[in-house]
């Protein structure tokens, strides 16, 4: 190997380029599949008489379409049912493992993969889903692809692609008490913009990133795509290894020791160069709320909806977003009243997220505000079981939240969980695009703790005033 210092990304790229031809061909270690973006790909294989080259590297689950209410009832939406049936028969026909509804493994593909230990450091991971960037939290190169590329990977286990550039997002310092990974990534996207990462793979580095738990790292990497990046990644370390050890698909015994040894070598070398670097000061990040229709419109909860820019296309976009969201510039965020709360998704549907929301409910006491309909949707069936074993479901239901089965649910509203026109939702998901959670629905992105606080109060509140982290909160002093 060359002595040239390399980044984490460089090492993964170099190790996965197949042969010397052009365009570069990247070998894919793990291909995750779900029901929405795969039927046309399997159909393509069938038509061309091709097989799945590496079924043992291909894992499927059902997440986007499934109802999160009683699963013993038939699915009333015919097209959804047909799509789910199609994945079942494709998995059978092509010999692909399917973690189906009714098993503990079923869940949102980006929650299930890590939880099962499929996702490991040093791997290339793809899925026909843009939030595949989540898996980069393990030091994997993980990115979303379109359906034609899904077919390509099924048939060849490879993907032709141009080498992306690298962007280091260096987060110095430490997050203040009561400020979460969700707030951090929203602050980062507000800083670099929804296309700030276009053409790049982001590596998150720095003191504040090293201190994040695995689940928090997944939240951060998950939303890399909302900054337009191909992927987001974090170098694997003891936090990663401790989380992974003993998972069903993780190596065990001697193979584990050897793997950890190898994974330790993946971190970016001293002196390696990124194409760009952006610095963020973690201590300045406060609990965030988005006001507009892109994830870059996050502002601190103690702040106000920003003024409309003087001119240019930004002015048009801001006016349109304000109108869509039913807001006025200058309105204090804490005065905005909400109708719905959604806690879940691949961004914030893991056990720690549910714990954080439950902790706020325990600290505050009381019940969901009478105007508000609030829903908790665990990211996987296993998360649901674990949460129930800890009694979290009771904390939620006693306070008046609905406790659902796992799936994508109201993150995109492909199943029956949608906002009515004009309804305003505090959501722990990742996209506040127009209509994302239902036509003319209004989505504000927040952390699980902030969502719980909003549910109880019927409006946004600085969660630190509930949890007692409000000594001199960042940005409030």
């Amino acid at each position: 190997m060359s002595a040239r210092p390399r980044t984490l990304f460089d090492k993964l790229w170099d190790a996965h380029v197949v042969g010397e031809g052009e365009p570069p061909l990247l070998y894919i270690d793990l291909h995750l599949v779900h029901e929405v973006t795969s039927p046309q790909a399997f159909e393509g294989l069938r038509v061309a008489g091709r097989r799945v080259r590496r079924p043992e590297r291909t894992v499927a689950t059902i997440d986007h379409n499934v109802p999160t209410t009683d699963r013993s009832l038939p699915i009333v939406d015919d097209t959804a049912r047909i799509q789910i049936e199609a994945l079942r028969s494709n998995a059978r026909e092509f010999g692909v493992t399917l973690h189906d509804v009714g098993t503990l493994e079923q869940g949102i593909v980006h929650v299930m993969g890590p939880e099962m230990g499929y996702t490991q450091p040093g791997m290339t991971v793809v899925c026909g889903d843009s939030h595949t960037s989540t898996h980069g939290a393990f030091g994997a190169l993980a990115f979303g692809i379109g359906t034609s590329q899904v077919e390509h990977v099924l048939a060849t286990q490879c993907l032709p692609m141009a080498r992306p550039r690298t962007l280091e997002v260096r987060v110095d310092g430490a997050l203040s008490p009561g400020v979460t990974a969700k707030d951090l990534i929203l602050a980062i996207i507000a800083e670099i913009g929804v296309d700030g990462g276009r053409g790049h793979v982001i590596e998150y580095t720095g003191e504040a990133v090293r201190r994040l738990s695995m689940e928090e790292r997944m939240t951060v990497c998950n939303m890399s795509i909302e900054a337009g990046a191909r992927a987001g990644m974090i170098a694997p370390d003891d936090t990663t290894f401790a989380w992974l050890e003993g998972r069903p698909m993780a190596p065990a015994g001697e193979a584990w020791t050897a793997a950890v040894e190898r994974w330790r070598g993946l971190a970016t070398d001293e002196g390696a160069r990124y194409d760009r670097t952006v610095r963020v000061d973690a201590s300045r990040v406060a609990p965030m709320v988005t006001w507009g229709t892109t994830p870059a419109t996050a502002v601190p909860v103690m702040g106000r909806v920003p003024a409309v820019p003087e001119g240019g296309p930004e002015r048009e976009a801001a006016l349109r977003a304000l109108e869509y969201m039913g807001l006025e510039a200058g309105t204090p965020v804490e005065s905005v009243e909400i109708d719905r709360v959604f806690i879940g998704s691949c961004t914030n549907g893991r056990l720690d997220d549910l714990r954080a929301a439950a902790a706020v409910i325990r600290a505050a006491g009381g019940r969901v505000h009478p105007r508000v309909g609030a829903m908790v949707v665990p990211g996987s069936t296993r998360v649901k079981a674990q949460a129930e074993a800890e009694g979290l479901d009771r904390v939620f239901t006693d306070a008046g939240f609905e406790w659902r089965e796992s799936g994508c649910s109201m993150c995109l509203g492909m199943n029956p969980d949608v906002l009515a026109p004009g309804e305003r939702c505090a959501s722990t998901s990742n996209r506040n695009f127009e209509g994302r959670q239902g036509r003319n629905g209004r989505t504000h992105l927040v952390s699980p703790a902030m969502a719980a606080a909003a549910a109880l109060n019927g409006r946004f509140v600085d969660v630190r005033t509930i949890t007692g982290d409000a000594g001199v909160p960042a940005g409030r002093a």
């Binding site: 061909l25 959804a80 490991q120 191909r230 892109t294 349109r320």
Partner: protein, 206 residues
Amino acid sequence: MEAVREVNGIVAALDRADVDTDQIIPKQFLKRIERTGYGRFLFHDWRTRGDGTPDPDFVLNRPPWNEARILVAGRNFGCGSSREHAAWALRDFGIGAVVAPSLADIFRSNCVQTGIVPVVLPEAAVVGLLERAGRAEAGAPLRARVDLETMQVTLEGGEHHPFDLDPHARRRLMEGLDDIALTLEREAEIAAYEALTPRGAPAAPG
């Protein structure tokens, strides 16, 4: 895939930045298991009013722009979800080229897979195009030609703008190549790679 050498036709202007794929094709249309038939759902929530009737003000509902072949939009077009259905819907509607100051990464590659020419032009050129296409009368819409041979966008009247495209993407479009067949031709390399870096199931990566 059909080979594309040039796209010739009416230019429709969508003067918005950060148009995401949820707008291009909303989720309720992703449940189908076919690759075709998405054109009538293109920009569904913008093209229809609350009661489901077409909004006569939306550009792609207004003749002659309902027959547009080239769509010009603001920066970061196609951001968000990886759904290839967005490209399928554009293609199915008749759009053969999308022109913007920047296109989101996954969308751009989905365009190439679908036979849509992704054209990135400097911001100033796009602003000019949006303006010209936007103020054109129904009787005289702006027409343009996107030529992959010369790598130029030529507007009616002669104004032209060169653009860049990854040479592999360009070749695939122009020759209508089956991407998967191309990779399968590299089978020996792939097999050698797999032999050199033995990996079991993902449970035991090498």
